[in-house]
């Protein structure tokens, strides 16, 4: 029920990384604990046994996000994600036989209202008002059959925690955790949610989704990153907000959502990952039984649009009362590219901890930033994306100072090899961070499901990062020189109309 964090935030937090030689953390040990099965309808099921406590977590990854929207339906992938909490023909209704025709009425009334209110010439305001009332009356009539939030209620009272979902520019994922005696209930609920969804309370939820957008646009970060992405991508859907444009959030219909669902929520486009105190031998038959009911459908054709090479530097500046923020991004290949590990190494070099180059330069020495980093994979990973540099300035310092300091560090990595110590540190940390991410059902389900969805193989999680172990100094210079060039750059900044004064830090007596 939330917009996705930028991918690199998650990658940073979870520390996607590589296998270590220790016993319980390498691919071989996971091979023994993981069962993978593709059901006849095309659904991929991954089960990882981790019997530490009598609980399990799951992720359902669906290979669709904002990437499959187009003008008029922006925000719809996220909207559908919200609808997947609204129940089925048996959950969330007092009487589906009566509710169903009432919902048809709502949609017909909405279509009539929407056509009239968006008439470009000769609009009859009185008729618009009448149609709007008819639509609202139809909604009220349908709402009498609703048992509000029953889907969530069943999950919660059966012991479920962390019930949530997210939508990104390239995928949608649903997740929660259950005590391990609720496997069958889970299989029923999670399959029914995609087998017999009922789009009840659609237009009320559309308002909720719009509120989610307002939450983002009421924050400087939200405003800046929306403008920045829009400038960086002129063709590819990465340039559009997952939260959608206000006009679309006020227009798209239940019918639009249903069409979107039919096309993209097919088993061949989904990966279900279960991690915890479950035995594949017991659980798989249940999963097959329930999820096997989802009707097969063709895997949607891959997205056609590829962002063309950038031929001009672009800059967006927001003049705000809030304090300055600086971001700049450079186009680079997607996560399936052979150089992705090199970009991850660059991210580590630039951003990871107090030994990172940007911390030492901008935060420690120049004292112009409170935080600074360079991250691989904005605003997503699957398609060609951006390597972004980001910084939050200290009081009295401007985005221009930040930019110059970041460029100095970029030039350094282009001109000089990184040190042996730095390269070794990157590789050691990659291994350790992987291990740290394995001790948690939810995190593991997310990582395995993401790898399965992204690479078509959960081993990609380990393999991708074997590649980090292979990265050379020359790779880093090569990639930096190919990527960090002026015409490939988009800059976004908030310039403050009320720049905070710089308190003379360290002085004990204020002037």
């Amino acid at each position: 029920m939330r917009k996705h964090e930028p991918k690199w935030v998650l990658m940073y937090l979870l520390g996607l990384a590589l296998a270590a030689p220790a016993a319980a953390q390498d691919v071989a040990s996971f091979e023994k604990r993981i069962t993978l099965k593709v059901l006849p309808n095309g659904l991929t099921v991954l089960i990882c046994e981790r019997p530490e406590a009598p609980v399990f977590s799951f992720f359902t990854h669906v290979d669709v996000g904002g990437d499959r929207e187009y003008p008029g339906i922006t925000g719809l992938a996220h909207m559908f994600e919200h609808m997947a909490f609204k129940g089925t023909d048996k959950i969330g209704t007092r009487d589906y036989a009566k509710e169903k025709p009432a919902l048809v009425q709502v949609e017909q009334a909405y279509q009539a209202y929407d056509r009239e209110r968006r008439r470009e010439t000769g609009r009859d305001e009185e008729k618009v008002a009448q149609l709007e009332k008819a639509w609202k009356d139809a909604m009220a009539a349908a709402e009498q059959y609703v048992v509000t939030n029953q889907f969530g209620e069943i999950v919660e009272r059966s012991g479920g925690t962390g019930l949530n979902a997210f939508t990104s520019n390239e995928e949608t994922a649903y997740h929660y955790s259950f005590p391990s005696n609720q496997v069958e209930l889970w299989a029923y609920l999670e399959s029914e949610r995609f087998l017999h969804p009922v789009f009840r309370e659609f237009y009320k939820e559309r308002d909720v989704v719009h509120e989610e957008r307002r939450l983002s646009e009421s924050q400087p970060f939200g405003r800046l990153f929306e403008q920045f992405s829009g400038a960086a991508f002129i063709a590819h859907p990465y340039g559009r907000p997952v939260l959608g444009w206000p006009s679309d959030l006020e227009s798209f219909s239940e019918t639009d959502a249903e069409n979107f669902y039919k096309k993209y929520y097919v088993p061949s486009n989904m990966v279900v990952t279960l991690v915890g105190d479950v035995k594949a031998g017991e659980v798989l038959p249940i999963v097959e039984e329930y999820f096997g009911r989802l009707p097969a459908g063709p895997k949607p054709e891959p997205l056609r649009t590829v962002e063309p090479p950038q031929i001009a530097e672009r800059t967006v500046i927001l003049h705000e009362t809030s304090q300055p923020i600086f971001v700049e991004g450079y186009h680079k290949p997607g996560a399936r590219d052979k150089d992705d590990a090199v970009y991850d190494a660059l991210q580590d070099l630039m951003s990871n901890g107090r030994t990172s180059r940007l911390y030492r330069s901008l935060v420690r020495d120049k004292k112009i930033a409170a935080f600074s980093g360079g991250f691989n994979g904005y605003p997503g990973a699957k398609y060609p994306n951006l390597f972004v540099f980001f910084a939050v300035s200290t009081p009295g310092h401007t985005p221009e100072e930040i930019r110059d300091a970041i460029h100095t560090e970029i030039d350094r990595v282009k001109k000089e090899d990184i040190s042996d110590n730095e390269l070794q540190m990157i590789k050691t940390r990659a291994k350790a961070d992987l291990i740290r991410g394995l001790g948690d059902n939810e995190g593991l389900a997310f990582q395995l499901g993401t790898a399965q969805s992204l690479y078509g193989d959960w081993r990609g999680l380990f393999r991708h990062v074997d590649e980090i172990g292979q990265v050379s100094k020359a790779d880093i210079r090569r990639v930096a020189n190919a990527t960090f060039v002026d015409n490939n750059r988009t800059v976004g900044m908030i310039e403050s109309t009320q720049l905070a004064q710089a308190p003379a830090a360290g002085k004990e007596t204020p002037q």
Binding site: A20, E143, N149, E153, E184, S218, P220, P395, T428, P510
Partner: protein, 485 residues
């Protein structure tokens, strides 16, 4: 260590027993047909507690799943005890403690040393306590533990890292009005506790500027004594060997002065409407706040059940009525606030578009009225209790969580079996209890109502709800008067 038997034996209150044999089961066509088998008994492993003669308390929790060892030392005394003229001092202390290095190594040298081992040793300053933590691969334990001890016993607080820490804090001061939610939470705390309260006051440029290296050294000398420390270690180690190492590291450390108890008074907010203008938003942030209570209150269990019913999960009243049925908010929730050693804030919160600000306040008021006119039903009670009890296992589904709970109870003087008492307490809560809780702790006319937003876009002026007090949230400039000292 062999798993000591649990304080908490988790046997589920699961419904009817039914064999978990898929081949015998028919496929359910309705969720009501599905009956969960009983959850198999689970005895979460409790950490071993060791108390050294000098008063230091140690918890050892073996967990051999991954080759990692992590530790946390919680040290009594935090920002709630810092002087009013130096608010921010403990935050600065928490940074410079680590960045300022030890006698033998500068902070930068520690960075290089630890990062080369993919290890972390970190310090931080909080309200009730400060912490030193480590996180390392087990092969590096001895080296990393050496840094941990040096940092605990011989920190240097080198002067050159002080401006860096002040810079960080000044940055957060300069940006504290950029996020509407941040403004609301800060101002709400001031309304409930009073602007001068240790639980509400915030650093200003002047209080940050007033902090010196001597302050940090003095704080360290005053508080970092073994009898003020609770140390928890979790990971891939042998408890007997670990105990021997910790004893030899800490047993000779002499006892020092005990940390004082914080004296604070809590009288709650002055009821009324409070407003802070934020011109660059499309949505208002609304909070209704009052003084809550503590967790050693016998009402605590019933309060948690009430909270679950009222503002907790997906099917709570606030979520269902204000979000799902009215479409007024994305973020909405609330409940009676509880904390271990002081009354927390009772809070209803939401975000709504500017032009439904008054409508959202109406909706909050309607939910408060409904507590009397449409009191919780038996079904709502069952739902709330089941949600808490059936998900109870997630309170201790990892050994690290069990350790964390035990350390917290130890720190605040709660019984070691508090979690089990909680489960039993919740189990006993009746409908009358929940109604009584609503009457006792929720008083519509005692709330401070706070709105952060763009007044020009509101559907009705806030004055239609009563006299409005406008809050001055301007950030005091350095050298200017420091408010609330």
């Amino acid at each position: 260590m062999k798993g000591q038997t649990g304080l908490i034996v988790f046997a589920l209150m699961a419904l009817a027993p039914l064999g978990f044999a898929p081949s015998l089961r028919g496929q359910a066509t309705d969720w009501k047909q599905i009956q969960a088998p009983p959850l198999h008994p689970f005895h979460p492993q409790q950490p071993r507690r060791v108390e050294l003669p000098n008063g230091m308390v140690i918890f050892l929790q073996e967990d051999h799943e991954l080759p990692l060892v992590r530790g946390t030392a919680r040290i009594r005394g935090g920002s709630h005890l810092e002087p009013a003229a130096k608010i921010g001092m403990v935050s600065i202390y928490g940074q410079v403690w680590r960045t300022g290095g030890t006698k033998s190594k500068t902070g930068d040298q520690l960075d290089d040393y630890l990062e080369a081992r993919a290890a972390k040793v970190e310090t931080s300053g909080g309200g009730d306590f400060t912490t030193v933590t480590w996180d390392c691969l087990k092969d590096n334990f001895d080296e990393v533990f050496g840094v941990f001890i040096e940092l605990l016993r011989e920190p240097e607080f080198r002067e050159d890292k002080l401006p860096l820490a002040k810079n960080q804090l000044n940055t957060s001061i300069s940006r504290r009005n950029d996020q509407p939610f941040g403004i609301a939470f800060r101002e709400a705390a001031k309304l409930v506790y009073g602007a001068d309260s240790p639980y509400a006051r915030v650093p200003e440029y002047a209080t940050v500027a007033a902090v010196t290296r001597d302050d940090l050294l003095n704080w360290h000398r005053r508080f970092v004594h073994p009898n003020n420390i609770i140390l928890g270690v979790v990971g891939d180690f042998d408890s007997s060997q670990m105990e021997a190492k910790l004893r030899s590291a800490f047993e000779s450390w002499p006892r020092g002065e005990a940390a004082p108890k914080l004296e604070a008074s809590f009288k709650g907010p002055k009821p009324g409407i409070y407003f802070a203008e934020k011109g660059d938003v499309t949505a208002s942030t609304v909070q209704m706040v009052d003084l809550g209570t503590r967790r050693d209150n016998p009402d605590y269990y019933a309060i948690d059940v009430f909270n679950e019913f009222f503002g907790g999960g997906f099917s709570s009243r606030l979520f269902s009525n204000i979000r799902s049925k009215k479409g007024l908010a994305y973020a909405v929730g609330g409940g009676i606030g509880t904390d271990f050693d002081h009354p927390a804030i009772t809070r209803l919160f939401l975000g709504t578009q500017s032009k439904t600000t008054a409508a959202a306040l109406d909706a909050f008021n309607a939910e408060l009225d409904a507590l009397k006119t449409n009191p919780p039903t038996p079904e709502e009670l069952t739902k709330a209790k089941q949600s808490i009890l059936n998900s109870f296992v997630f309170r201790f589904d990892s050994r690290e969580k069990v350790l964390g709970e035990r350390m917290t109870y130890e720190f605040y003087g709660y019984p070691a079996d508090f979690l089990e008492r909680y489960r039993l307490g919740v189990d006993k809560v009746t409908l009358d209890d929940v109604k009584r809780i609503a009457d006792k702790y929720i008083h519509k006319d005692q709330f401070a109502v706070l709105v952060v937003g763009k007044a020009a876009d509101f559907d009705r002026p806030l004055s239609s709800f009563g006299p409005v007090t406008t809050l001055d949230i301007a950030i005091p400039k350095l050298g200017g008067p420091v408010t609330h000292q």
